[in-house]
Point group: C3
Chain length 137, copies 3
C-alpha cells in the first residue's frame, strides 16, 4: 500500500472566493504513483470548504447568493463576542462541506463528466491550507 | 491490500426520486472479498446525492418538502441563463451530500441499526452513475 | 496495511448536545499503530452527526440556533405519524454531516490549528455509538 501527502496553499484576494482545484489534485495523484485507491481533499481551516459541483460561473454565483440567504453575514452571532466577525463563514462552509474523497482508477481521478473539485473560501485574504492525502496501490 | 470498483446505474422515472441502495452496496462489498476496510459510495453526477438516513416513507417525504423550502425550484437562478433549468437540483444535492464512506468489519457493512444508504436523484429521467470503491484487507 | 476499529459510546443528558471528541479519536489512532493513513469517524445513528469546526461555545450556540431556524422542531412532519417526534433531528444532522475522514501523518491526526472534531447529538438521552475505523500503514 502507498500513501502520499501534499498540501495546497491559498490566500484569496476576496473574502469569499471559489477556486477550481481539480487539476491540482490530479497532479498530486499522478505524483503519488497510486493506480487504484482514493484521495482525501480536506480544508484545514474552519471557515473554508471543499466540494464537488459544476464549473459554471452562473451556478457559482447561485451558490453564493443561496448561502448568503441560508447563513447571512452581519447577524449578531454570539461567536462575535470573542472579537471574531466570521460566524457566517463557519456556517456557510458547513453547508458546502469541508472535504471530499475522490476515487482513483487506472491512475486517474474517477470522476463523472461534470464533476469538478472546488475550494470554497468564506474568510479569505489570509493564508489557508488544504490537505491532499492519497492512499492505494 | 485489495481494491474493488463497481458502478451503479440509475435512470429514475420521476425527476426527483430517492432509491435505497444498501443491498446493492453490500453485494459489491461481498464481491470484493474485503473483510476489513471501507467503501466509498459517490454520485458521479452533480445533481444527485448519496446519503445515509432512515428507510421510512414519511421521513423521505419530509426531506423532499424541506429541500424544496431550502432550495426552491423555479427561481430565476443565473445558472438557467445557460439553458439549464436544474440549479435547484445542484443546491439540493449539496444539502444532502454527494457521497458516504461506509466501514466494513468482518466482511460486512458496519452500520447502525437504522442506517440505510440512499441515492437521491434531483434531476432524473436520464442515465446516471454512482461509483462504489472498496478498499481494505 | 493495518486496520483498527473502535466505537465511542454516548448517552447525553440533554436531548441536544455537542461533545468534543478530538482526543478520543487521537487515542484510537495512537492505539492503532498507524503512522500514515486515514481515520473514519461516523455516527451509527441517524439523528446525530459528526463534524469538524471550532471549539468555541459562542459558535456552538450559533450552530444550534441556526439549525433550529433551518430545520425547526415541532412542525407537523409526516415522519411523526409513525409515533416518532424527532424528524427535525434527522434534518439537523444532515446539515451538519454525519461523518468525517481525518488524515493521519507521522502517527498523528493531521489537523489545522483550529480543527476540532465534534459529536452532535440531536435526539439524545439514549445510548448511541460512533464507529472509528483507522486504515493505513
Amino acid at each position: 500500500m502507498k500513501t502520499h501527502t501534499d498540501y495546497l496553499l491559498f490566500e484569496t484576494e476576496a473574502r469569499q472566493e471559489f477556486v477550481r482545484i481539480t487539476d491540482d489534485v490530479s497532479r498530486i495523484v499522478a505524483a503519488s504513483g497510486v493506480t487504484d485507491g482514493m484521495v482525501l481533499v480536506s480544508a484545514m481551516h474552519i471557515t473554508s470548504g471543499v466540494y464537488v459541483n459544476d464549473w459554471e460561473d452562473g451556478l457559482i454565483h447561485d451558490f453564493q447568493t443561496w448561502l448568503e440567504k441560508l447563513a447571512p453575514a452581519g447577524l449578531p452571532y454570539r461567536h462575535h463576542q470573542t472579537g471574531e466577525d466570521n460566524a457566517d463563514a463557519h456556517l456557510k462552509r458547513t453547508v458546502m462541506g469541508h472535504q471530499v474523497m475522490l476515487p482513483i482508477t487506472r491512475s486517474r481521478l474517477d470522476l463523472g463528466p461534470w464533476e469538478q473539485v472546488f475550494y470554497a473560501e468564506f474568510d479569505g485574504q489570509r493564508p489557508k491550507r488544504v490537505v491532499v492525502k492519497v492512499m492505494g496501490i
